[in-house]
Amino acid sequence: MTKQNEKDAKRVPELRFKGFTDDWEQRKLGEIGETFSGLSGKNKNDFGHGDASFITYMNVFSNSIADLRGTEHVEIDSKQNQVMYGDILFTTSSETPEEVGMSSVWLGHIKNIYLNSFCFGYRILEKQNFDSYYMAYLLRAENFRKRMTVLAQGISRYNISKKQVMNTFVNFPTMEEQRKIGKALFLIDKTITLHEEKQHQLEQLKKALLQKMFADKTGYPALRFKGFTEKWEQRKPKNYLRESRILGSTGVDAKKLTVKLWGKGVVEKKESISGSNNTRYYIRHAGQLMYGKLDFLHAAFGIVPKELDKYESTADSPAFDIIDGNPKFLLEFFLRKEFYLRNGQRANGSRKAKRIHEKDFLEMPILVPYKSEQTKIGNLINSLDRTITLHDKKIQYLKQLKRGLLQKMFV
């Protein structure tokens, strides 16, 4: 007995629904269904129009149950294979071996739907004996994924052959048990999706609050804390920030940090090769505000977190001590399109990758309140941010829980 067979011999999962005790049955995928190919003989002029649709590669790749909206237009072509309800779609190539042969189940009823040419389809013949949801999760479970990875061939791109996928053995319980497993996993998936939607809503809520709590051209915000009535003042970043230039080490020795785009913060920069001896680095301190000169238009602003104190960056990511004002308020102020995009567009330069000099940044006009109001606003956004971060953590945990279930509920 080979090692693989030995393991398969014990054909019951760890976690099982009440009342099921039978051994699972091992079947070869090729025995219970047959494959068909995606679109072929098409050139780029055939796409983007027409009454038929095809399911995109990304749709198959990213979803265990395909998103019914993840299709694009193509002309009707009777020579091509149509995808039907319950068909399972596999990607044939990928950039890493771990991502080859990803599968997705199609649960749509529309006519004239085809499959992109980088995937192949698989249709189960005895449909009454196999549950689509069960299949969807079975083929994404760790056990099956490992076997696909082993079958990946190639160097810079990896391919998998239909034939080898069809030669793979998988295990099935009775239809009744399949349905229960499929449903449980579908529900956890659905829960995750709903939480992600909620996450998005919380971000929208933050955006909405920022719109209302920052002054518009009139100098007054729409939503204010009690007791504040003054008009916001025309100031400049230089009234609140002072550039910090503490000479550090060179590219070889520096522990580097970088400012992420879209306000995603200041993080450690991991490099596969060490930097140059000729590049000057500057020491940054926790609490300093930083931005990326080349990515000003992509909202690369952030505040150095405690754990990155004394990390370094080049002059292309300047840092500023906050000499007045509330840090969170200022950061959120700069992160609004109204600030970075409007001012970034006006700045000298023509290329998309404009380099915004700190001298220009410090002179940009801003409309701000007194520090006490700044602090109140900063605190409010901080607490909303905490809620959002916690919610995001919860989503990560749910995803881990799903992975755990995928391990325990299949053989």
């Binding site: 976690l15 009440k18 449980a184 829960t191 809520l205 909405a208 567009q345 023509s350």
Partner: protein, 547 residues
């Protein structure tokens, strides 16, 4: 596809087969040179017919008659007469028709090719008015190039193949119009777009030329009898031809006088051929092979020792961007530069080209020049020159163009329209950077994009997110920085988010989450509990249980 395009794409693919290992940009000189020679030879034949030099004889062609008649002392008379009329003359043994007959009879040899070009050069001296237009025009057709073949026989074979290819097409469209000029232009474009960055410099894409041409034409007094147009960095001369096409009756004899200058000799030769093949009379063109940024190009001192510079009704230019130049301080006295308080920096000749062009503009003329964005906001010397131009009211309009329009560079550019004398001090800004269609290698300006620019320019009014007529005060407020986004605001405001509606959606999601979690929980309840699974199941339940 037009016939001209059709013919040129056929020629292009044939040329690619014939050139073998030779660079496309090098082979260009042979195919274009032969085309021009054929053109001149046929033009001469037409002249002989139109002026009834010979009596028609049954079974004999004009070339036969010319060969028969133009011998000995008569030949000299013929050549002088033809040269007096056309500016050049081709002896009967050297005509295209004779060459083709020799090739047809397999009698052509290396000497025949050598002769036609040598004799052409000699005869170019017969007419002193035309000499500078024709001399050396075939200098780049190098018959001894080893890349044609490594011995005389293979070289001759290659030349014959090329000549035959040029001969295989007739250059008239279905209406009998001469399309040779257009074919020539298409080929120049093909060579430019296939020759890589460096070699594409001599060609300004036709669509960009059209914008420049229409901008200067918009300001012309069309009642004027004739116009002089000048391109100080003319490349292959296409831009000048495009301007002609925007002038009503521009092709009428004497209506447009062409002036141009080009530093690269090969390119200068291309320009001479290009203009003549487009029907420009040698008497109407003054093209020079010289450095625009060196000594200015006066016609020389007059009898009183005074330099009288030329001024033109329209100046158009697409100079090389941010070129190095010799910015010696003595140039501050140069009449072209002296009124602007500074010289363009030595690493960036952009303003030197601009001031040269402006200097040669008539008082009521218009110029349009393509430049990189940097000229709008760079400081130091360039800031000074910009300020001086603005204070003199010479900048009429600034148009931001899309990136990727050129063969030689991907950077976005601007077109600046200038006049020597204006009553106003306002400047029109147009942000045309988003009006284009994505092409395979280059972005393309569509007719609608060009029309929009020209219409907006003529109207000289604000257009939301596209154009703004700025006052001098506004420019001063911006410290003479002309960067387009300072004047044309293209910022898109974010749509306001309705918190009340958002709240409803959020509550709805909360409810769905509760439902989904409860359903999941009921399934977890159904899991088989044993000593191994007890803790796992309890843990899952604990997460989803609500009190």
């Amino acid at each position: 596809m037009s016939k001209a395009q059709d013919v040129s794409s056929q020629l292009w693919s044939m040329a690619n087969e014939l050139r073998g290992t030779m660079d496309a940009s090098e082979y260009r000189n042979y195919i274009l040179g032969f085309m021009f020679y054929r053109y001149l030879s046929e033009k001469q034949e037409k002249y002989l017919i139109d002026n009834d030099i010979f009596d028609q004889v049954e079974g004999k062609s004009i070339n036969d008659l010319y060969r028969q008649d133009a011998v000995g002392d008569d030949l000299k008379d013929y050549l002088e007469d033809i040269s007096g009329a056309l500016g050049y003359a081709i002896a009967p043994e050297d005509t295209w028709t004779t060459l083709m007959e020799k090739i047809h009879d397999s009698k052509a040899n290396a000497e025949d090719f050598q002769n036609i070009f040598d004799h052409f050069e000699e005869n170019a001296q017969l007419n002193s008015f035309a000499e500078k237009d024709f001399r050396g025009v075939f200098a780049d057709v190098n018959l001894n190039n080893s890349r044609l073949g490594n011995n005389l026989a293979t070289r001759t074979k290659a030349l014959i193949a090329t000549a035959k290819m040029v001969n295989d097409f007739d250059y008239f469209d279905e209406n009998g119009h001469d399309i040779l000029g257009d074919v020539y232009e298409y080929l120049i474009k093909q060579f430019a777009s296939n020759a890589g960055k460096k070699a594409g410099e001599f060609y300004t894409p036709h669509e960009v030329s059209k914008v420049l041409a229409k901008l200067v034409a918009a300001n012309m007094d069309l009642n004027q009898e004739s116009f002089s147009i000048y391109d100080p960095t003319m490349g292959s001369g296409s831009l000048l031809l495009t301007v002609r096409d925007e002038i009503p009756n521009g092709r009428q004899k004497g209506r447009v006088r062409f002036y141009g200058q080009e530093l690269n000799t090969t390119t200068y030769n291309l320009a001479r051929m290009n203009l003549m093949m487009h029907g420009v009379d040698y008497g109407n063109m003054t093209l020079r092979n010289a450095d625009t940024l060196a000594m200015d190009w006066p016609d020389g001192l007059d009898q009183d020792g005074v330099d009288r510079p030329h001024f033109f009704d329209a100046v158009v230019a697409n100079p090389p961007y941010s070129q190095k130049w010799d910015a010696d301080s003595s140039k501050l006295k140069d009449p072209r530069f002296k009124d602007y308080g500074a010289l363009a920096p030595k690493g960036k000749a952009d303003y030197a080209f601009l001031l040269h062009s402006l200097y040669h503009l008539e008082q009521n003329g218009t110029m349009a020049i393509v430049l990189p964005h940097g000229v709008l906001f760079r400081g130091a010397a360039e800031g000074k020159i910009r300020k001086a131009l603005l204070e003199k009211g010479q900048i009429d309009a600034i148009i931001g163009m899309p990136a990727g329009l050129f063969y030689s560079t991907g950077i976005p550019t601007i077109i600046m329209v200038l006049k020597k004398h204006r009553d106003n001090r306002d400047v029109l800004f147009i942000d045309a950077s988003k009006g284009f269609e994505k092409g395979k290698n280059q972005n393309i300006l569509r007719d609608q994009d060009i029309d929009k620019i020209i219409k907006t320019y003529k109207k000289r009014q604000d257009v939301d997110k596209y154009a703004h007529l700025s006052t001098m005060d506004e420019i001063k407020e911006n410290e003479f920085n002309l960067n387009i986004p300072r004047y044309v605001d293209t910022f898109e405001e974010e749509p306001p988010i309705d918190i009340v509606a958002l709240s409803k959606e959020m509550q709805d999601i909360d409810q769905k989450i509760a439902q989904s979690e409860a359903e999941f929980l009921s399934l977890v309840d159904d899991l088989d509990v044993n000593e191994h699974t007890q803790s796992t199941i309890d843990a899952i339940k604990a997460v989803f249980k609500h009190d």
